[in-house]
């Protein structure tokens, strides 16, 4: 049985540089890097010191709060460098890859014959636990809690997002194995959402509750889907897994190997040929974009333009991302930019901004802020792109003045930073919504647990 989710409030930002559906294999990068900051809220405790030899899947560090949660090396090789920041916080662990990849063997498992506890322990051991994230707070799941349901969004609606139907094609067996395993972790349902007209490999899996999603972004955000299917109440927890990570979990179960390869979309106007590439988590971006990426005055983003993280040319593919976006930097002045008619930028108003005339045009947006930071002034605009049953501005303000009672009452448990990406995009006052939400969630997590 499928339950449809139709979103009306939202905005599809159409950009130049959609990835063409061809995939190249990238050669093995010489250096891989894992950054503990990709796992928000985790304090890493190093296992593999500099010089240590590791196999693919062997732990590099564990979580201080729960030492069962291991973070694995994506490749086999030698730990060459551990970069530390203030108070000796681990920022990056770099691994020089062996020419011949050697996988640690975790053993082939049949998920259908495992108990929930066995699945959990297996995921711990193989370093696959971090793929499971939780709401509230949008952090790596706390294994001591039991989720009321598990959500998987196989519909990507973010700007230029990788087409999951394409990147996951042919992975039905792995996906089914992973679903069978993680469904043991909850007493509730495993909700899978696919695009309304898609032929997604996830649509045919068994043991799931299928939902067909339509409407503009953020319809593909798992937060939107949770809100429409089974919203989070105080005291409840749901877990969330990205479909590309399910493939890795599935492969682990079927082969006993931790294979961190995923299909990554290279998108944005700065790519000569936007397309897909098979790359391993933590790979140096240069290793699979060389010759394709114009790095002149370019913003390189691991992830999408709304919620991704800025990385350097010499940066690395982040742990959860399946997309690299490259767009022009906008560090130039624009004469009378605030009052002249605008044809080449996206806007939800018609204030001499003309993107409403041509809804299907693709834009080459830059990183310019198009104005300065101000106090909240305009009202009613966020609601047009915000499909959750929450008052976005009131919640943001509560998060800013840190009133925990209000944060809780207004829906703080139900949101993740990415849910506020569109409101941040259209914000006339150029307020940093996602940062406000992230900091507020951290405070709630610390104070309310």
């Amino acid at each position: 049985m499928s339950k449809d989710i139709r979103i009306k409030k939202g905005l599809d930002i159409k950009l130049v540089g959609v990835a063409e559906k061809t995939t190249t294999q990238s050669s093995l990068s010489s250096v891989y890097a894992i950054k503990p900051e990709d796992f928000h809220g985790i304090t890493p405790k190093l296992i593999a010191r500099e010089g240590a030899k590791v196999k693919a899947g062997e732990a590099l560090f564990y979580s201080k709060s729960d030492e069962r949660i291991l973070f694995p090396s994506p490749v086999s090789g030698t730990v060459t460098e551990v970069i530390r920041g203030e108070r000796r916080k681990v920022l990056t662990v770099k691994i020089a890859a062996d020419a011949q990849q050697d996988f640690k063997d975790f053993g082939v498992k049949d998920a259908s014959k495992m108990t929930g506890e066995e699945v959990k322990n297996h995921l711990f051991a193989a370093g696959c636990w971090p793929f499971i994230k939780q709401r509230p707070y949008d952090v790596v799941a706390n294994p001591n809690q039991t989720p009321k349901a598990i959500f998987i969004s196989a519909y990507a609606s973010a700007p230029l997002a990788a087409d999951l139907e394409y990147t996951l094609a042919g992975k039905e067996v792995e996906l089914q194995a992973a679903i069978s395993a993680i469904s043991k972790l909850t007493a509730g349902k495993v909700h899978v959402s696919v695009g309304a007209n898609s032929n997604s490999p996830l649509a045919k899996l068994s043991g799931i509750e299928l939902h067909k999603v339509s409407g503009p972004h953020p319809s593909g955000n798992v937060g939107t889907q949770i809100a429409k299917i089974d919203p989070i109440n105080k005291g409840e927890v749901v877990w969330v897994v990205a479909p590309q990570d399910l493939v890795i979990i599935g492969e682990l179960l079927l082969t006993g190997k931790f294979n961190a390869t995923r299909i990554v979309a290279l998108t944005g106007s700065k790519f000569a040929k936007p397309q897909y590439v098979a790359a391993i988590i933590g790979a140096s971006v240069a290793s699979f974009t060389k010759g394709n990426l114009n790095t002149d005055n370019t913003r390189i983003i691991s992830g999408n333009v709304l919620s991704g993280i800025k990385i350097k040319e010499t940066g690395f593919l982040r742990y959860y991302d399946n997309q690299i976006t490259a767009i022009p930097e906008g560090d130039d002045y624009e004469f009378f930019g605030w009052n002249k008619p605008v044809f080449d930028k996206v806007s939800t108003t018609r204030a001499f901004t003309f993107s409403w005339l041509n809804p299907n045009k693709k834009y080459d947006l830059t990183t310019n802020t198009n104005g300065e930071h101000r106090a909240f002034v305009v009202t009613g605009s966020y609601e047009q792109v915000f499909p959750l049953d929450i008052y976005p501005m009131q919640l943001l303000k509560a998060f800013m003045y840190k009133d925990l009672d209000e944060m809780e009452a207004l829906g703080g448990y139900e949101v993740a930073p990415e849910d506020f990406a569109l409101t941040e995009f259209i914000c006339v006052s150029k307020q940093p919504h996602q940062k406000i939400i992230r900091e507020g969630l951290d405070l709630m997590r610390q104070e309310l647990g």
């Binding site: 913003r299 991704g308 767009i327 624009e334 939800t348 310019n368 101000r374 002034v377 990406a421």
Partner: protein, 399 residues
């Protein structure tokens, strides 16, 4: 070196100094800054606060221009009433415009000069950027004052309005009361004898009082409040060929501005529509009271109570208040549901004050200021509804 480069170098030079906000205000007026995103979304929509405010100013320009002609027209028509026989021929004349230029433009210049001066001083003292709020306030103020308002009075009022109405709360976006209406209210309560009566609405009427050349120009509301009738036709009232504050007389142009604001999605159509609805509702109630003979023509309220409800919508400042004042997003209700309630009550209370206020037959600015104060309360209850739904959902779940 180009202007762009020169300004960039100056910006670097002023960075971190006290003068930086003042310089940036001028710089960002000429050039949209070269700021790029850091963290959060990497791209941003085209709109900023300057663009938003600019739309409101553009929507006000027809009212300003019309007000300038009307300033002259009302002056000459008060001297020679026969001019009113052919409005269209006698309205758009250079003589009329000239009076507008010498009387209205100074109001605009003083409003902007004094107001922005205060804004710059506060920005420098408090080290924040000069914010755009006053760009609109500065244009609204000359349009809602009588033509013969002395410039010194306006200056005092503007300083009061900007400092007490806005800056003490922390500047644009933080204020509780609409700054333009705070200025208007200050003028009314500080100089009541000057600001009401039948002289101040027409240029030179004050000076000529008591002489053989004396002229007067009572507003439509003023006449109705005294149970008098006027010679103005519905055409005059709708298109605005009547005495009144500088820019609020033409309901037609105000509606045109409203259409522009709604189309550009800058103004809240919910507030505009609900304000008119509220005013119409109160007008109809009063009409029914008169129809039921509860109030007779001997009552001092008869004039305004018997005014048809639809005529209430086009006389006085109601339309201007509904479109340009009530919609100020900072001081209005911020939730969509709240906006309906807020607007409706503004319209409703406006007409009530209009009818029952003996001293000054205009209630719009008082009604809006009153509802400004109550807007957060309205929002509170609307938001509590959302909170209650959330709690209910949790309870159903556990039950």
């Amino acid at each position: 070196m180009s202007l762009k480069q020169n300004l960039h170098n100056l910006k670097e030079k002023y960075k971190g100094t006290k003068m930086a906000p003042a310089f940036n205000a001028i710089h960002t007026f000429l050039y949209m800054p070269n700021d790029v995103t850091h963290g959060g979304t990497h791209i941003k929509a085209a709109d900023d606060l300057k663009r938003t405010m600019n739309m409101v100013i553009i929507s006000l320009l027809p009212c300003l221009l019309f007000g300038m002609y009307n300033a002259g027209y009302q002056h000459y028509a008060a001297i020679d009433p026969s001019l009113r026989d052919n409005v269209l021929a006698n309205f758009f004349t250079f003589d009329n415009l000239w009076i507008g230029i010498i009387k209205v433009l100074p109001l605009v210049i003083v409003s902007y000069g004094v107001g922005l001066g205060v804004e710059f001083i506060f920005a420098i003292i408090k080290g924040h950027e000069v914010e755009e709020g006053y760009l609109v306030t500065g244009m609204l103020v000359p349009l809602i004052v009588p033509i013969d308002t002395p410039l010194w009075m306006l200056s005092v009022a503007v300083v009061f309005g900007v400092v007490i109405g806005k800056e003490v709360f922390g500047g644009t976006g933080m204020n509780i009361l609409n700054p333009a209406l705070t200025i208007r209210a200050f003028l009314f309560f500080a100089y009541p004898t000057w600001m009401s009566g039948d002289k101040v609405w027409v240029y030179d009427a004050v000076n000529r009082a008591g002489t053989v050349d004396a002229i007067s120009g009572e507003t439509v509301l003023g006449s109705y409040a005294q149970n008098l009738t006027t010679n103005y036709s519905i055409f005059d009232k709708f298109f605005g060929f009547i005495p009144g504050s500088v820019g609020e007389t033409s309901t037609f142009l105000i509606l045109l501005g409203a259409a522009f604001l709604i189309f550009t999605k800058i103004g809240s159509w919910r507030i505009i529509v609900s304000t008119f609805l509220g005013a119409a509702a109160m007008g109809m109630i009063f009409n029914q009271v008169v129809a039921a003979d509860i109030i007779t023509s001997s009552s001092k309220f008869y004039g305004l109570m018997s005014t048809a409800w639809w005529e209430h919508l086009m006389i006085g400042g109601l339309a201007f208040g509904a479109v340009y004042m009530a919609t100020d997003p900072v001081t209005a209700s911020q939730t969509n549901k709240g906006k309906w309630i807020y607007g409706f009550l503004i319209g409703f209370i406006s007409i009530m004050i209009r009818v029952f206020n003996p001293a000054y037959p205009e209630g719009v600015f008082l009604a809006i200021l009153l509802m400004n104060v109550f807007a957060p309360t309205i929002d509170h209850y609307v938001v509590q509804g959302n909170v209650k739904n959330r709690l209910k959902r949790a309870k159903v779940k556990t039950a």
